[in-house]
């Protein structure tokens, strides 16, 4: 995963699909469904077909996991765990934004600062946030604070680096345009710099959401008594394997929803920009 989105790619020529008589969005949707169906099929083969009757793997079957998920969502405190996890994600993201955006703006506009901080940032960024876990617990105690710290630490890099990159990439011709329209400093800031940087910050935010969601679950396996990570360990301890698989499924699904809403936010706040490739 690169942290800085590369130059936007030209969207694929959709005319081929149109010529084939299919609406391009429909084609995409059908392909996505087919991919998910294959995934489900593989899961099923791996748990219900290949393993012999009565094998341990059969406990992880989608045939039990999916109904279990339904009953957990209605008849247990799983929704509370979901809310706790989402709240942590939100706090972590807000902290990361609060630190990443101003620092990114500073680093992006002042090249000396960039040169001074860039190796340090790269160094810190490459340390898995999880390796700070014992330290974070020692410093912040048990409970939510160390989790907030770890999540913010994981999410701050994509936001910071994309913000800095955005400032550097501000098109000089836009500034020339505002100059030729006799714009005041404030008008230039409001109509060119802020919107010009915004789409990159949102790209950073979307990457950050992805990172945070991955780091969240292991973070919640330590010293807390609520959240999806905690719930997974709990199901293991209770030997409730169908519940375990149900939560794994749920984590994937929620992550998918989070990414989709980040995408929607991007489209809403930065119209006209082609969706940058996040790979």
């Amino acid at each position: 995963m690169t942290l800085v989105a590369t130059a936007p790619q030209r969207t694929r020529d959709a005319s081929a699909d149109v010529r084939a008589g299919l609406h391009p969005a429909l084609t995409r949707f059908a392909l996505a469904l087919a991919g998910l169906a294959v995934l489900l099929g593989l899961w099923w083969i791996g748990t219900d077909i290949l393993p012999p009757e009565g094998s341990f793997a059969r406990k992880f079957s989608p045939g039990t996991a999916i109904p279990t998920l339904g009953s957990l969502l209605i008849g247990s405190d799983l929704p509370v765990h979901i809310l706790v996890s989402l709240k942590r994600v939100l706090v972590g993201l807000l902290l990361a934004l609060a630190i990443g955006v101003p620092v990114g703006l500073a680093v992006g506009s002042w090249s000396k600062l960039n040169e001074a901080t860039s190796p340090a940032f790269q160094f810190l960024r490459m340390i898995s946030p999880l390796s700070w876990m014992p330290l974070a617990v020692m410093v912040f105690g048990v409970g939510d604070p160390p989790i907030y710290f770890l999540l913010a630490f994981a999410a701050v890099w994509p936001i910071l680096l994309n913000t800095a990159d955005a400032v550097r990439k501000l098109d000089p011709s836009w500034l020339r345009l505002s100059q030729s329209l006799a714009a005041t400093r404030w008008e230039t800031l409001r109509t060119i710099i802020v919107p010009g940087v915004l789409s990159h910050i949102l790209t950073g935010l979307r990457l950050a959401i992805g990172v945070i969601w991955i780091v969240l679950v292991p973070c919640e396996m330590l010293g807390v008594s609520a959240g999806l990570g905690y719930f997974i360990l709990d199901t293991r301890d209770r030997l409730a394997y169908s519940e375990l698989m149900a939560v794994v499924l749920l984590i994937g699904f929620l992550g998918f929803l989070l990414d989709m809403s980040a995408r929607a936010l991007y489209q809403l706040a930065a119209p006209g920009s082609r969706q940058p490739r996040v790979s």
């Binding site: 030729s180 006799a182 005041t184 109509t191 915004l198 789409s199 119209p271 006209g272 920009s273 082609r274």
Partner: protein, 258 residues
Amino acid sequence: MLANDAVLAAKGIGLRYPGQSANLLSDFDLLLRRGEIVSLLGPSGVGKSSLLRVLAGLQQSIDGVVTINQNPVQGVHPRVAIAFQDPSLLPWLTLEKNVAFGLDFKHQPKLSAAERRARVDVAINEVGLSHARSLYPSALSGGMAQRTALARCLARKPEILLLDEPFGALDEVTRSEMQQLLLKIVRDFDTAALLITHDIDEALLVSDRIVLLGGGPAREVGHWTIELPKPREDYVAELGALRVEVLTTLRRAMARRH
């Protein structure tokens, strides 16, 4: 030629950047009248873009005065519009919003919202993009983007259009469409236009006059007033002869620089 029928007049312009030993440009005069297109030709680096920035009030010259309607320019004049090779559209705004961009800025003439809308409509119609007004720049072709940039100029009802190689990055067919559009704009809006170009044929096709910059420090080394009817596609022979003259002068000027 009388100075007082000119919209824009430049007299004795001298240009030099800090650290340069000699003037880049010296003693340059120019008159630009309403409804007229003047092309500025000259070798690369001779100072054409710098001169345009001075005329636009974006940059100070070391010598000379520029007046617009007999008033010395101070900063960017609200009735001067500038376009460059790069259309510099803002990717987060629709075509329509790009055209309206800057109309509500503090130093622009005050317009009501309805007036602004009317100006934008007229400008977009003029460049023939009414069907694309809600598109974003990423969906526009190079020619459409440059049309949008021209519409953004027109929305300000310019008296003077300053164009720095506006069609330089376009393909042959699109470029010739844009040249016809420029002629139409100057006619419909009765503006004066200064066109910097590297393309002699383009200059011959659209201009009323061609001014050639050259020598070092650059000054005017050639000056043609073209009195063929427009468009001029039928006057191939006359244009051919003019073309040779322009080229010869340009070559001579460049030889003197070395």
